[in-house]
C-alpha cells in the first residue's frame, strides 16, 4: 500500500492534513465530502466547518472521541436528538499537539452498535492504524512530506 499526505489548511493553532491512498484521484477528506454531501448534508457541513475551527482554536481533547488505538480518533458529531441522530463517522490521526491527518469516514449502520461491526468503518480504522504505526516507527516530518510530495510505501 502507498500513501501521500496533503495539506488542507494551516491554521493559527493547528494544521489539517489528509491522505491519498495508492493511486486514488482524491484525498480521504474529499472522498468523504463527495460521497455524503448529498445524503447527509448537515453532518458533512458540520464536520468541514469543525475542521476549519480546529485550525483556529486548536486540537482540544474534547472535540474528539478516542478510538482506543494509538493516535486514532474520531471527530465528535453534531448534537444527538431522537429526531436527528448522526450517522456519519470521520476518523483522523492526531500527530503531536498541532497536526491532524484526516483519513476518511463512512456511515455507521443503525443496526450496528460498534464501528468494529461495520465493515467499511473497520477498514478505515485498520488503514489508519497501519499509517499511524508507520509514521511513528519512521518518525516522519509531516511538513516535509507534504512539501516534497513524498509517497510512502507500507508492506501489506
Amino acid at each position: 500500500m502507498k500513501f501521500r499526505i496533503v495539506e488542507i489548511l494551516k491554521g493559527r493553532r493547528a494544521k489539517i492534513h489528509s491522505m491519498i491512498i495508492d493511486d486514488a484521484e482524491k484525498h480521504g477528506l474529499k472522498q468523504f465530502y463527495d460521497e455524503f454531501i448529498e445524503t447527509n448534508n448537515k453532518e458533512v457541513n458540520f464536520f468541514m466547518d469543525t475542521l476549519e475551527k480546529i485550525g483556529r482554536i486548536g486540537i482540544k481533547d474534547g472535540f474528539f472521541e478516542d478510538q482506543g488505538g494509538n493516535s486514532i480518533y474520531r471527530l465528535k458529531n453534531i448534537p444527538t436528538n431522537k429526531k436527528d441522530k448522526p450517522q456519519l463517522r470521520l476518523y483522523c490521526i492526531k500527530w503531536g499537539s498541532m497536526c491532524l491527518i484526516i483519513g476518511g469516514g463512512g456511515k455507521k449502520p443503525d443496526d450496528k452498535r460498534a464501528w468494529q461491526e461495520a465493515p467499511e468503518l473497520r477498514r478505515i480504522n485498520e488503514l489508519l492504524s497501519k499509517i499511524d504505526n508507520y509514521l511513528y516507527e519512521n518518525n516522519l516530518n509531516i511538513d516535509a512530506a507534504c512539501q516534497n510530495n513524498t509517497t510512502f510505501e507500507i508492506e501489506d
Binding site: E7, L9, M48, D49
Partner: protein, 109 residues
C-alpha cells in the same frame, strides 16, 4: 489552503458556522482557562456542581450552551467567555483612556 476546502467552506450555511464558532469557541476557551489554572475537568465539574459527563458534553464543541450556563461558568471562573458589542466598547474605551466606558459616559453628562 487546499482549493477544494476553500470552495466548500463558502457553501457551509452561516447557521452552522455560527453554531460551531460559539460552541467550539466557548469550549476551547474553557479548556485554555482550565489548563492555565491547572484545574482538572473533575475539579471543574465539582466547582460547577455538575457531573463529569455533563462537562465532557460542554467540552465537545457541539454543546448548545444556555445564557444561564454561560453566565454561571463566567462567574465561577471569574472570566468572560462571550463578548457583546458593549463589552468591546468597554474594552476599547478602557484601552484608549484608561477608563471604563460607563465612566466616560458619566464624564460627558
Amino acid at each position: 489552503m487546499d482549493n477544494f476546502f476553500k470552495e466548500i467552506l463558502k457553501k457551509i450555511p452561516k447557521k452552522i458556522r455560527n453554531y460551531n464558532r460559539l460552541s467550539m469557541g466557548i469550549a476551547g476557551r474553557i479548556d485554555e482557562i482550565l489548563e492555565e489554572r491547572n484545574i482538572s475537568q473533575r475539579e471543574f465539574a465539582k466547582k460547577m456542581k455538575k457531573s463529569e459527563s455533563e462537562i465532557s458534553k460542554w467540552m465537545s464543541g457541539k454543546h448548545n450552551f444556555t445564557i444561564k450556563s454561560i453566565a454561571n461558568i463566567e462567574a465561577k471562573l471569574d472570566t468572560k467567555l462571550i463578548y457583546t458589542e458593549y463589552d468591546l466598547e468597554d474594552i476599547r474605551a478602557k484601552r484608549e483612556n484608561g477608563k471604563k466606558y460607563f465612566d466616560m459616559v458619566s464624564d460627558s453628562d
